[in-house]
Symmetry: C2
Subunit: 432 residues, 2 copies
Amino acid sequence: MTNGTNLDPWYYNYAQRTGGLAASEVRALFAVASRPEVVSLAGGMPYVSALPEDLVVGAMSRVMREQGPVALQYGSGQGVPLLREQILDVMALEGISGSADDVVVTTGSQHALELMAKIFLDPGDVVIAEGPSYVTALVIFKSYQAEVDQVPMDEHGLIPGALREHISRLRSAGRTIKLLYTVPTFHNPAGVTLSWERRLEVLEICRENGILVLEDNPYGLLYFGERPPVAMRSIETEGVVYLGTFSKTLAPGFRLGWALAPHAIREKLILANEAAVLSPSSFTQLVVSQYLSDADWKSQIGTFRGVYRERKEAMLSALQENLPSLSWTNPNGGFYVWLTLPDRLDSKAMLPRAVKELVAYTPGTAFYADGNGANNIRLSFCYPTPEQIRIGIKRLATVVNGELDLLDTFEGTGSLTPVHQEQSILPPTDMR
Amino acid sequence: MTNGTNLDPWYYNYAQRTGGLAASEVRALFAVASRPEVVSLAGGMPYVSALPEDLVVGAMSRVMREQGPVALQYGSGQGVPLLREQILDVMALEGISGSADDVVVTTGSQHALELMAKIFLDPGDVVIAEGPSYVTALVIFKSYQAEVDQVPMDEHGLIPGALREHISRLRSAGRTIKLLYTVPTFHNPAGVTLSWERRLEVLEICRENGILVLEDNPYGLLYFGERPPVAMRSIETEGVVYLGTFSKTLAPGFRLGWALAPHAIREKLILANEAAVLSPSSFTQLVVSQYLSDADWKSQIGTFRGVYRERKEAMLSALQENLPSLSWTNPNGGFYVWLTLPDRLDSKAMLPRAVKELVAYTPGTAFYADGNGANNIRLSFCYPTPEQIRIGIKRLATVVNGELDLLDTFEGTGSLTPVHQEQSILPPTDMR
């Protein structure tokens, strides 16, 4: 009954935008990868077990004891004032200063993204994004009938020259560019970080062209060595809407994120938030606020950093050991490694065989609006243990080598001599 | 800075739909009415203090002890399976049978409403609704550039003959009618209930005309005497999307509601939900699920019924005592009484004087898309105590009588002789 298009009596009643709502490849994978015997390198689930439950239980009990009726009640569409003040402290760690009055608490930063799309995007508008880009951002933009134009990256992030070219090409074609959507730090899925010089340059390009920057920064505090450059919002105030979240530094189960926006945009975000959900959950807002008041949250973020650093190192060692002929990015933080397969391999076509070998990943095509990324794979090191990661990469190597053997046999070609790049350059998608 | 339209550098970048996002009158009132000395008969806040906090703390602690990592993690876009099963038990109390597979958990039923609007409404589409209708539903429909056509009610709810007329007029004008949005039971703001016979008739009219019914039922279990007629969804399966919520029978602070939808629509709702928030909060879903497993939730709903019945009676006695010349509805459940002032009075213009007298209410115009309702007032009896209600209505009488005296003085007319209707008929908005 799931493909019952013809059986749906309301088929001709949906809005035009609903045509853009399709199940993402990542979504289908969650089902497959949830079998316990599969090592999943696919999802982006934080390792919440690194958070001591006592801290959460303590915060909850105190909230119910001291503010029960407030926690159980509707709140404001903007969010709890104390929590918005505390969010300023979190953002200060990335160089941002702002007013709690310009913070809007949302149901995960995902919902801030949805609200930004709702208030800015008319059908036919263009959103510029990195290529590759966060899957569910692509889904949202498409759901508001906007087109996503993806600009290539290299190991220093989005390439400013390419951004200029894309803007000028789109302008010549008479297109309206509404937003630059970017994950500048520890990019999902590419694992790269926009350099300081490029942050300045990208902001300058957007300022010149009247393009609002939507800076999505879920991973910035999860660095493994040196701190990354400060947030773009710390450099530019009026031209940037900044999105943050507690999903990665605390836990996604609370569904709490935020937007920091120029005053007039913040006002629209509040109205859109009220229309959509009346108010974010008072209960989870107060629990998180209490946690931030009572717990040593900065050292908890340090714990997460250590967990993810160890897992990333396990993944890179395993790749070096098992798939030395391939190339991959070396992230200095965050959750993801971006792997490039030989051109002959198709990561999506290979996935069923991988699942048969009990390892799952996300095919690169999921991160492009245009079918690009066929020989890329996003590998997540956030959730599995180092030991599982080693097993998973070993299984992946079996699959990749098996596919290559198969191709060699059928094509009768000689052995493959791929170039191994220690610091990989992402596929030049712009030049295909 | 709040009216800084000319100062907003992004003013010309917003989507067209954003023009429809304006601060509701109810929203502005929340600020005014939150001063402690004001008796607020304005908001629709449930009296959450009637919920024993121990029940919530117990459920929370058990969830964290037994399912901590699940509660803190992302979940599915459809919601926790056990909770969806339990939601079937809740809906069974209103005559509904369905499959947990067709339930989608949302961030309050408000978000289900937003998602329905997003997947069904193109600019220029028409949503038929009762006149008056729930404020934030009007805001949502407008935010998707749909037009709301409001059909009058009487003491038995929406008038089927008027519905037929409106449909035929809209069809003649070539308009596309996408939804009938209705709160059939203990209507917000009118306080009336659609009779059993009319439920059948309205469903038949919608079936004939290919109009999907969006049945919003937050109050159905909060009846004061006899049970209301069963839900429209219990009569018709393929033509109704049903919205329910835990906000009134448990607490709004969890932000948990749901949609029960025909299979194909349910599939779109899940995709739209995932795009908007990835998943509803695992944490609040598991807490509510645990509460439903462990607590005597049916008897807790009985407690709420008793609280609200007493408050409604206090309000009606106070109206009878202090404003006997006016008319009002006599709700058999829910949160609201709809008061009709003499034609000469304007409830919105009168509001500042009321707030000066330390009583707040919602002017009737808030519930119409077209400026109607000027001599109506929505009075909420859900949150204030019976004693506060008596004080509030006494203050309201001072204001109303003061306004009438003033008009008499200035107009030099004789005394007013309004008709008092025990069972009020709502203003015939269709015939003005």
